[in-house]
Symmetry: C2
C-alpha cells in the first residue's frame, strides 16, 4: 500500500497554487520577479521526489529505532545525517531566504507546499532543517553582522543546525515565568554567562553535524520579571575558540534528558542544561529585553509549520485509507444487505459511512492545504508587496489566520487521521499498518508551539479585535469578495448564502464579545475562546472551500476529460459537505460563546 501513497497529491498542489490562489501573480512583485511556474514546479517536484523516495521509506524505521541517549549524547537514527544532507542539497534551509544570504528567494506559498511533501514523508526528519531555518532567520533578522558571520553562514550552509529553546520544566506554556539567567562577563559586551534548564528542545542534540546553535530565551540578571525582561541569545553547543574561531570548544551545554515521545521519534526532544560548570556563553541577539518579540518571528513561522505538519500527516493518512477503501472488499451494498447475497462483497468505498469518513478527511485535508496557501500568500505580500498599505493589510490577515491555520489543522487533522485508522478496521489498530503511527504523530500538533487553548486566546483576545476590529473587517471584505465571485455559479448559490450568513453571525458575535472585554468582563469574553476558535475556523475553511468550488465550477464550464471532470465535481461535493455539515455547527457554537455558558466555571472545587 505505502509504495503507492502519493503523500500529497501533485494535482492538488497545482490546483491550489495556480487555479485557486493564482500564486503566479506574486511573480509581478520585484522580490519574485526571477521566478515563474518553471522554477516553482522544479522545486516542488524535487521536494515530492525526496519525500517519496528518501524520507517516507525511513518513516516507520525511524519510529521503531528512535534516538537513544548514550553517555549524555543523543544518537539519532544512522540515516539521519544522509537525509539532512539531501534536504540541504534540495535547499530547504534557505529556500525562502533572499539571494544575498544564499537563498532561493521563493515565495512562502511555494516553500510551504514543498514542506508539506517532506512532512508527509517524515515529519520528524524534516524538523531538523526547518528548525535550523527558523533559528537562522532569527539571527538574520535581528543579529549583528558579527553574529551572522559567527553562526549564520554555517547554519544556512548546512554544516551546523539550530533549535528554538523556550520552554522550561516549571513554566510550560507560560514564558513569562522562565528562570534561565544571563550574567554579564567582564569585558564582553554582547556575550553572557548562561545558566538554566530547558525542556522539549527538538533537535537539541545529534551526531550528524559538528554544532548546534540554540536560540535561547533567558533573563539578564537585574532585568524585569515577566515577559518584558526576556532576551534572546544564541547559545552554541560548541563555541568558537577566542582568537581561533575555526576551532570549537565545548560550551557547557548538556543533554540532561531524552523525552520519550509517542511520535516524531526521528526528531529527539530533550532537556538541556546550560552552565553546569559555569562556563556556558550566550551571544545576545539584537537588543536586550526584546527576546520574546524577536522569538515571535520564529514562533509564528513554527506555528504555520505545525499547521503544515498536521495537514501533511492527515494527507498521507487520507491517501492511505482511500487506497485501502478501494481495494479491501467487505460486506454487501447497503441496499442489498440482508440474506445470502450472490453479488458478493463490495469494496469498502461502496459503503456510505466509509465515504462519509473519506469525504470528511478530504474536506479537512484539502481545506487545510488551501488555508496554508492563503496564509503563506499573505506572508509573501506582507513582506514583499511594494505598497505599504497592502503590506499592512496582509500582515493583519496573516496574524489573524496564523492561530487558525495552526489549530484547525491540528485539531481536525487529528480527527481526520483517526478516521483513516477507523477505515482500516481491526488492521488499523495494528502497527503493521501506518495509520496508527500517523495518529501518534498527529497528536502532538495541538500541543506544541502553543496549545489550542492558547491559540484561541490569541485569536479572540488579540487578533480579531486588533486595531479596533479592523483586522476582522478586512477579512470580512476579502471573504465577501470571494463569495461574490462564487455566487455567479448557479450551483454554489446555496453555499454562498450559508457562508454569508455565518460571516455575519461571526461579525456580530465578535462585536458582542469584544464589547464585553472592553467593559472589563474578560471571563465573559474569553471563557468560550476554544468554541470561538472552532467557529471561526469552520468559517475560514468554508471560505477556502468556496474558493475551491468556484475555481472548480469555472473549470467545469470548459471541455474536460471525464477523469478531470470527476476531479472538479468531487471538489464541489467536498465544499457542499463542509458547509452543510461542519459550518452548520456554528449556530450552536455562537450561542455558547454569546451566552457565556458557565457550567464549568461553576463546578465547586470540592465537587469534581
Amino acid at each position: 500500500m505505502t509504495g503507492s501513497n502519493p503523500l500529497v497529491r501533485d494535482r492538488d498542489v497545482d490546483f491550489l497554487l495556480y487555479e485557486v490562489h493564482n500564486v503566479l501573480d506574486l511573480c509581478k512583485l520585484p522580490a519574485f520577479a526571477e521566478h515563474g511556474r518553471e522554477t516553482f514546479d522544479l522545486f516542488l517536484r524535487s521536494a515530492a521526489k525526496l519525500a517519496r523516495d528518501s524520507l517516507f521509506p525511513l518513516f516507520r524505521e525511524m519510529d521503531e529505532q528512535p534516538a537513544r541517549l548514550v553517555d549524555g549524547r543523543v544518537h539519532e537514527h544512522p540515516k539521519m545525517g544522509e537525509l539532512y544532507a539531501r534536504m540541504v542539497e534540495l535547499g530547504i534551509v534557505t529556500a525562502g531566504r533572499p539571494e544575498e544570504v544564499g537563498g532561493a528567494q521563493l515565495p512562502s506559498c511555494i516553500t510551504s507546499m514543498a514542506y508539506l511533501y517532506l512532512m508527509a514523508g517524515n515529519g520528524g526528519a524534516v524538523g531538523y532543517p526547518l528548525l535550523t531555518a527558523g533559528a537562522g532567520h532569527l539571527i538574520e533578522s535581528f543579529g549583528s553582522d558579527a553574529l551572522r558571520e559567527l553562526f549564520l553562514e554555517r547554519m544556512y550552509g548546512g554544516s551546523w543546525s539550530g533549535t528554538m529553546a523556550l520552554t522550561e520544566p516549571q513554566a510550560g506554556s507560560s514564558l513569562g515565568d522562565i528562570t534561565t539567567s544571563a550574567s554579564p562577563i567582564e569585558g564582553r559586551e554582547d556575550v553572557y554567562r548562561i545558566k538554566g534548564n530547558k525542556i522539549f528542545i527538538s533537535g537539541g542534540d545529534h551526531q550528524f553535524l559538528d554544532n548546534i546553535v540554540h536560540l535561547t530565551l533567558a533573563r539578564r540578571v537585574g532585568d524585569p520579571a515577566g515577559v518584558k525582561g526576556i532576551s534572546l541569545f544564541a547559545v552554541p553547543r560548541m563555541r568558537p575558540v577566542a582568537g581561533a574561531p575555526e576551532q570549537l570548544e565545548f560550551n557547557d551545554v548538556h543533554t540532561s534528558q531524552l523525552v520519550h515521545k509517542i511520535g516524531w521519534k526521528g526528531l529527539a526532544s530533550l532537556g538541556l542544561s546550560y552552565g553546569e560548570n559555569e562556563d556556558c556563553r550566550g551571544w545576545l541577539v539584537g537588543k536586550p529585553c526584546q527576546g520574546l518579540r524577536y522569538m515571535f518571528q520564529m514562533m509564528n513561522e513554527a506555528r504555520l509549520l505545525v499547521g503544515a505538519n498536521a495537514t501533511a500527516t492527515a494527507s498521507a493518512a487520507y491517501h492511505e485509507s482511500l487506497a485501502y477503501a478501494r481495494v479491501r472488499t467487505q460486506g454487501r451494498r447497503l441496499d442489498r444487505r440482508t440474506g445470502a447475497d450472490s453479488s458478493g462483497p463490495v469494496a469498502l468505498i461502496e459503503h456510505p459511512d466509509v465515504r462519509r469518513m473519506l469525504l470528511r478527511q478530504k474536506a479537512i485535508v484539502e481545506g487545510s492545504m488551501s488555508l496554508i496557501v492563503a496564509s503563506a500568500r499573505y506572508a509573501d505580500l506582507a513582506e514583499h508587496h511594494e505598497d505599504p498599505a497592502r503590506r499592512e493589510q496582509a500582515r493583519l490577515l496573516l496574524d489573524m489566520l496564523t492561530p487558525v491555520t495552526k489549530s484547525f489543522a491540528a485539531e481536525r487533522g487529528f480527527e481526520s487521521t483517526s478516521l483513516a485508522l477507523q477505515i482500516h478496521g481491526g488492521y488499523g489498530y495494528s502497527s503493521e499498518y501506518l495509520p496508527e503511527l500517523w495518529m501518534r504523530e498527529q497528536r502532538l500538533n495541538s500541543i506544541h508551539e502553543g496549545t489550542t487553548a492558547i491559540h484561541s486566546l490569541d485569536l479572540l483576545g488579540r487578533k480579531v479585535v486588533a486595531k479596533g476590529g479592523q483586522a476582522l473587517m478586512t477579512l470580512a471584505g476579502v471573504i465577501g469578495a470571494d463569495i461574490q465571485a462564487a455566487h455567479q455559479h448557479g450551483e454554489l448559490v446555496e453555499l454562498c448564502e450559508a457562508v454569508t450568513h455565518e460571516l455575519e453571525r461571526t461579525g456580530k458575535l465578535t462585536q458582542v464579545l469584544g464589547a464585553r472585554g472592553l467593559g472589563g468582563d474578560v471571563i465573559g469574553m474569553l471563557a468560550h475562546s476554544v468554541d470561538y476558535l472552532t467557529l471561526f475556523s469552520n468559517l475560514v475553511v468554508a471560505w477556502q472551500w468556496l474558493r475551491i468550488a468556484g475555481a472548480s465550477c469555472k473549470a467545469l464550464q470548459g471541455p474536460l476529460a471525464d477523469e478531470r471532470r470527476a476531479y472538479y465535481q468531487a471538489k464541489v461535493e467536498a465544499a457542499r459537505y463542509w458547509i452543510r455539515t461542519e459550518l452548520a455547527d456554528n449556530a450552536r457554537l455562537a450561542k455558547l460563546c454569546e451566552s457565556a455558558e458557565d457550567s464549568y466555571l461553576k463546578v465547586p472545587d470540592a465537587g469534581w
Copy 2:
C-alpha cells in the same frame, strides 16, 4: 500521580447504584432475594481493591512487555497467571451466573460496576476472565449436558479459559462471508472436523492455564451461504482423549500469527489456524445453523463490556488529569493575564479551558457509567422479572441501548481520553505519563465488537424501528417519566424542557426515516446512520444526566456537609453542560439525517 488515582470513584458507583438507579429494588426479585447492599458492596470493594492493588500496578509494565510469539506459542506477561487466579478467586468469571453452576447470582448492575474497576486498572488482563465468562455462558445457555460437563465446569472453575472466534481475515465485520468449515466425522453426531482461519482472537493462546476453548463460528459442509448457514462449535486447543477424558491431546489448533496491536498488549490477539493436519475437532453447540443467533448472546454481552471498558479507560484518564490539573501550576488567572503578575502561577484547574476539558470528561465518563447501569438494569429485568410483559419491555430497551452504550462510550470516551492527554501538555505526549497509553487502549473500542458504523445501522435499521416503533415509544415513555420527576426541581426546568424538545425531535425524525425505509429508500434512511447514532446517544446521555441531576437536587434539599454539597452541585453543573453544549448539537444532526445530505454519495469514483 498514579498511586492516588482511584480509577473509578467509589462514591460515584454508590451514588449511581443506590441514589440514581435504586438497584436495591432488584433484590425484590426472587433471583436476587439473597442479595442486598452488604453483598453488593463486598463484591464491589473487593473488585476495587484488586484493581488498585494488583491490576493497575502492572498496567504500564504489561504494555512495555507485551506477549511474544515463541515457537508458535504465545508467551504472555509472566504475572498474568497470578492475576488470572486472583480474578477467579474474586469470582468474576461466574459473578453473574446462577448458583446452580457455581455463580454468585449477582445482578448485572453490580457485576458491570465491578468490571469497571477492573478494566480501569488493566483492561487487557481482565479480558481473559471476561472472555471465559462469555464463552462459558454460551455453553451454559445452548450446550447439551454432555458439553457442559466436558467444558463448562473447568471454564467456570478457572482452570480453562475461553474465547470467541468469529472474525476471519477475508471477511472482517461481514460474518456472513466466513469460510471456516465443519465436516462430519463418521459415527460422531455432534463432533465435526474443523478447518479454517480466524483473526483478532483475543486471549487465543497463553501459557497460564492448561486449555483454551474457542467458541467458533463455522459452516457445516452443505449448509447455506450467508449468515443462515453458520453454526457454533466449541473447539478446544487441547481435547479430552476419547475414553480417558481427564487426559488431553492436541486438537490441531495453531497460533498462526500475533497481531501487533497498539494497545491492550496484556491480552494477545492472534490468528488461529484450525485443522492444518485435518485433525481438529469441534463440538457442535446447540442446533446447527443457529450459530449466529447463539453468538449474539456473547456479542451483546461483549458490546456492553466494550462500553464498560471505554468508560473505565476514560474514567482512569479523567481522574489522572484532574489530579494533575490540581497540582501543576502554570500561567496566570485569565482576568490577570497581562504583564508581570506578582500573584504567581496558578493551578491548571484555574484556567477556564482546562475546566471545560475536565467537565467534558466528567460528563462523558459519568454519563457513560450511568448508561451502563441503566442497560445492566434492563438486562437484569429482562432475565429475571416475574412478569413476562416487563421482561419483554426490558429486553426491547436493552436491545436498543446496547449499540448506544457501546458506541457512545467508545467514540466520546476516545475524545475524553485525548483531553486528559491535552491537559498534561507536552508531558502528555510522553510515555512517562499514562494518558498516552489510555489513548492507545481506548482507540480499539470503536472498532472491536462491531464498528461504530455497524452499530449505527443496528440502531437505526433494526432497533429503533423494532415492532413497528414500539421499542422507541417505550423508551420515550420511560424518558418522559424521568423528565417529569426532574421537573419538580425548579433549577432543572430549563434542562427538562430542552430534553423534552429533543425527545420529540428524535421521535419525529425516526418516523420520517422509518417511513423512508419502508418505502424502499434504504439509502435515504440509513446514509446518515452515524449522525443518527450520535443524535440518539446525545439524547440518551442527556436523559441519564437529568436523572443524575434529579437525584442530586433531591439530596441537596437535605442538610449536607460542604464537601457533600459540592459533590451534588457539580453533578447539576455537568448535567447543564451536557444538555446545553452537547445535546444542543441535535438540531444540526437531525437536519443532516432528514435532508439525507448526499455530498459523500455523489463524489464521482474517479474524483476522490
